[in-house]
Amino acid sequence: MQYGMIIDLERCVGCHACTIACKAEWEVPVEYNRNWVYRMGPSLVGEEMASTYYPGLCNHCSDPVCVPECPADTIEMTFTHAKTGETTTLEVAATWKDPFDGTVQIDKSRCIGCGACADACPYNARYINPDQTDDVSDDGKADKCTYCKPRVEAGETPACVQTCITGARIFGDLDDPESEVSKYVKKGAVGIEVNGGNLGPNSRYYGKKKDMDLLMATHTPELADMGQVRRRAMLASLMKPAVKKVKGLGLLGLVGALAVKGFCNEDSEK
């Protein structure tokens, strides 16, 4: 199974509903985004005038460059297939690619906030959320689109898909040939592959030729300088000892559970 998202640029009107719904759903700080909409043009593509949009988000790549860069200590994590119940155990750092649904996820508790993954991502799909600090990292935690995993597991569509006013965002299993997303791939939906790379982005775009040409010409990224990414990651991991990372994990978990209650109390006192 590989979750993927299609953005149909023939339907997209560039309204930004997707980006704002995501902000509301996931409490993304004002300054940051888990997804975005850029407008390109009007400019000439060959002889033709064109203008279209780049509604971007994490590509949950088939071969993500961000995952291997995470310097956090690894743990054994057991994954369960949502449908079959099949399990598998992998050794993962604080970010990984889910072996069953193909999404790329982050464990906020173990993230040391070094930003290596964000630096590595050629799509700028990750950022460090400064609101999320703890004993492990006072710099914040890496954050990005999860393909709304908690919503999807609860049987809902991703927040951006739900709100999309024209049905331009379609979510589903790219490995299922009958899925709507697979049909789009057959029709020619493609990901924005990095220049000279082979990451296999699973957020894919479909549109008129001139619009796709404009999208690719303006937003095909380069691979990051991994040497630099790694030096930074190494330094960060040295500065944040493993023991500190473990400390307080359980306790903070408890605090989290109280979050809603405490929040409400605070509000009602106003």
Partner: protein, 747 residues
């Protein structure tokens, strides 16, 4: 960006609040352990509250709220909706940021400084209402009811507007939605087909969609956009007429890059071509047309070549559009437009659009102009008292209207000129409710002078918009999320689906915070103080809604049980009403002294060195109303000025350069914005989004963000038939590094 720190505190997320909890509390808790305290939980498990009706714009999508404790954390489309469904736009999604905006008006305020440069003192509601009541009563007694002017906008402004108009009895009401927006469209269609057209085009089932200036994608109304995209997906051809390569032009099959102001010439040439080549719908015209022969005769001058020259487009392209329309008639959507206050020749253009629809027989047919059959609900408000036309500024001495096709109310310029001259009578009171005349009405300095000479100015709003700086008393209103209010009605958005109707009253999703109050409370309290207590029609917003629902046999209780929306069986809209007619040549218009056949009136051209200022919308803002919303501000923090790339090169400008503006009257922009160079705009025009550049420092996010286009629209044009404004007849030069850049005539 200093505001971010305070904002973050204000908008504290659940997880942040958690970090602030004493650890001991956490340990003592017996609630379960969550693996990651930082991961926001999403809203799936939050409580859902129903009954919201959006008013981030005026399309009014139906909402549900996601609530965590007392706090509304997210808005979504109501899944029961047959209008917007579970979709809402960026603005709709950002409604929670309006609700909790720390800059929102919180308490009644009294201006102890001066108008335009206020110093605010918090006062009690009692004091504020006493002041409003006594000042307005004094004006009424001294000058008469007509001494009070009203500038309303939005659903909450209807009730107070009716109080002043119907009960107190002033004609001097200027609604922005009419005189600066769609009023011309409505009266032009009334004079042609006897109905205001709304935006009732059956786009999902059309073979051609024809947009004159419509820029969907930049302009967003959810179910309308659904109709548009469904039409395109179903294979409709799209014709977009616009001097700019708009968001719609980018999806078009034919983009007509017309010279600004010449649209009527273009439309007349299409119609003349169709009629003279026998490609019009003769059968339809025989049955429903009136004055067709005079019309046909009257437009024969308009050859393709003549229009091509006037519009600066190829004759071949006009023919191509005409042929496309003819080949697909009558299943064509000739869009009536919405904001049509463009050039002061707009009534004639709107008449021409209605006539084109008639020439093609595209009324009440699949894909044509088809009004939805919506359910009836009540319209409870203040009772109409007898008020004669003695003080109606739109009536001359012979009791003939000056602007016979004026939309309801009194043309803005008549009110302002009267206020400034004191003739024929003084206008000394001003009630501004939800409207921002400073950034809505052209001639900002004139508006300020009008306000300066008032004895009393009161504003009711949710945000400290620019107009609120001019108030003596400023009252904080409950937002659309905190009050019972209007009942939105409609039908399923695609007429190809089974016919259904819906009734969705606005039910609050949150309690008003601080001292915010709704319109029925505020109006009634002022009415009591002005001696109109016995005329009060309802005691609360809730009672108003209950009464109006009763007409449809419904109650709020039942609607809530039904998930916030009542849905019932609808009716087929594709039947031509018996008395329907299309008045091609309108004798009444001619008798009133205007052309009875749609007529092209050329508009003033830019003086040498200037470009015409065009404006439009962006999808994340509703004029100035949403400028202070942090999420929306961050999405499009300024309004770049579009300049033709060849012109930009000649001026030495590149993308991202900061520029200011000066117009033909020497008015300079207060702020600057960035340059966007593109081949997608004509060389004689520049374009920017409307609504930016707020001047009020209390709008801590929106203040000075981008450029206020209205500030540059100082030359006032009035459409002669309607008295509504034309706002695209101002011309500007750019200022970079204090140097004025003249726009080259040719590059």
């Amino acid at each position: 960006m200093a505001f971010n720190l305070t904002r973050r505190k204000f908008l504290q997320s659940a997880s942040l609040a958690a970090v602030a909890l004493p650890l001991s509390d956490a340990i003592a808790s017996e609630t379960g352990i969550e693996p990651s305290p930082f991961e926001p939980k999403g809203t799936v498990k939050d409580e859902t509250v129903v009954g919201g009706v959006c008013e981030m714009c005026f399309w009014r999508c139906q909402l549900v709220g996601k609530k965590r404790g007392d706090r509304l954390v997210k808005l979504e489309g109501n899944p029961h909706s047959i209008d917007n469904g579970s979709s809402i736009c960026a603005r709709g999604n950002a409604g929670v940021q309006l609700l909790y905006d720390p800059d929102r008006l919180k308490y009644p305020l009294k201006n102890v400084g001066e108008r335009g440069n206020p110093k605010w003192k918090r006062i009690s509601w009692e004091e504020a209402l006493d002041e409003c009541g006594s000042k307005l009563k004094a004006i009424e007694e001294k000058y008469g009811a007509h001494g009070i002017s009203v500038f309303p906008h939005g659903s909450s402004a209807k009730y107070p507007m009716h109080f002043f108009e119907r009960t107190v009895g002033t004609h001097n009401v200027s609604e922005a939605s009419f005189f600066q927006c769609r009023g011309i469209r409505d009266t032009a269609y009334l004079a042609t087909i006897g109905m205001a057209p709304g935006e009732y085009v059956d786009m999902p089932n059309a073979k051609v969609i024809f947009l004159l200036g419509g820029h969907f994608g930049e302009n967003i109304h959810v179910s309308h956009i659904k109709q548009y995209i469904k039409g395109l997906q179903n294979g409709a051809k799209l014709v977009v007429v616009d001097p700019r390569y708009s968001a719609s032009a980018a999806k078009s099959d034919i983009w007509v890059q017309i010279k600004p102001g010449t649209d009527t010439a273009f439309l007349l040439a299409i119609m003349n071509y169709l009629i003279s080549n026998n490609k019009h719908n003769a059968e339809f015209i025989d049955e429903y047309g009136d004055g067709f022969d005079e019309f046909k005769e009257g437009i024969t001058d308009w050859t393709l070549e003549k229009a091509a020259k006037e519009c600066e487009i190829p004759a071949e392209q006009i023919k191509e559009v005409a042929e496309l329309l003819a080949a697909n008639a009558p299943n064509v959507s000739i869009h009536p437009g919405r904001h049509v206050s463009w050039y002061g020749n707009d009534f004639q253009r709107q008449r021409a659009l209605a006539c084109l629809t008639g020439v093609l027989g595209a009324f009440f047919v699949k894909g044509g102009w088809v009004p939805a059959k919506t359910p009836k609900v009540g319209k409870t408000s203040w009772a109409k008292k007898e008020h004669d036309d003695e003080f109606n500024l739109n009536m001359d001495e012979e009791e003939e209207p000056l602007f016979p096709y004026s939309p309801p109310g009194t043309p803005t310029e008549l009110i302002r000129d009267t206020a400034l001259s004191g003739k024929p009578y003084p206008i000394k009171g001003c009630v501004i409710w939800g409207q921002n005349p400073i950034q809505t009405i052209p001639g900002q300095e004139k508006m300020k002078d009008v306000l300066r000479q008032m004895d009393f100015v009161m504003c009711v709003d949710v945000m400290p918009t620019d107009i609120t700086m001019w108030a003596d008393i400023l009252l904080p209103e409950a937002s659309y999320l905190e009050r019972y209010d209007l009942i939105k009605t409609g039908t399923q958005w695609d007429f190809a689906d089974s016919h259904q109707q819906y009734i969705a009253p606005r039910i609050p999703l949150a309690e008003p915070m601080f001292e915010r109050r709704d319109q029925v409370y505020i109006t009634n309290e002022i009415a009591k103080r002005m001696g109109y207590e016995s005329d009060i029609p309802v005691q609360s917003n809730k009672e108003l809604v209950e009464k109006d629902l009763l007409v449809a046999g419904l109650t709020l209780e039942q609607i809530i049980k039904e998930g916030g929306i009542h849905i019932q069986k609808g009716q087929d809209p594709y039947t031509v009403p018996e008395d329907f007619e299309v008045i091609f040549y309108n004798e009444d218009i001619e008798d009133a002294g205007f052309p009875g056949i749609p007529t092209y009136q050329p508009v003033e051209q830019p003086p040498k060195g200037y470009a015409r200022l065009l404006y439009g919308r962006v999808p994340v803002h509703t004029f100035n109303r949403t400028q202070n919303n942090v999420w929306l501000n961050k999405s499009m923090p300024e309004n770049p000025v579009w300049i033709n790339d060849a012109v930009a090169t000649a001026l030495g400008l590149k993308d991202g350069d900061m520029v200011g503006f000066i117009n033909q009257d020497g008015v300079k922009s207060r702020t600057k914005t960035t340059v966007k160079t593109t081949p997608g705009i004509r060389k004689d025009s520049v374009y920017m989004a409307h609504g930016y550049g707020s001047a009020n420092p209390l709008m801590s996010v929106g203040v000075n963000a981008g450029v206020d286009d209205t500030s540059l629209i100082s030359k006032i044009t009035v459409d002669p038939e309607t008295g509504a404004h034309g706002m695209r007849n101002n011309f500007i030069q750019l200022i970079k590094d204090d140097k004025i850049l003249a726009i080259p005539a040719s590059v």
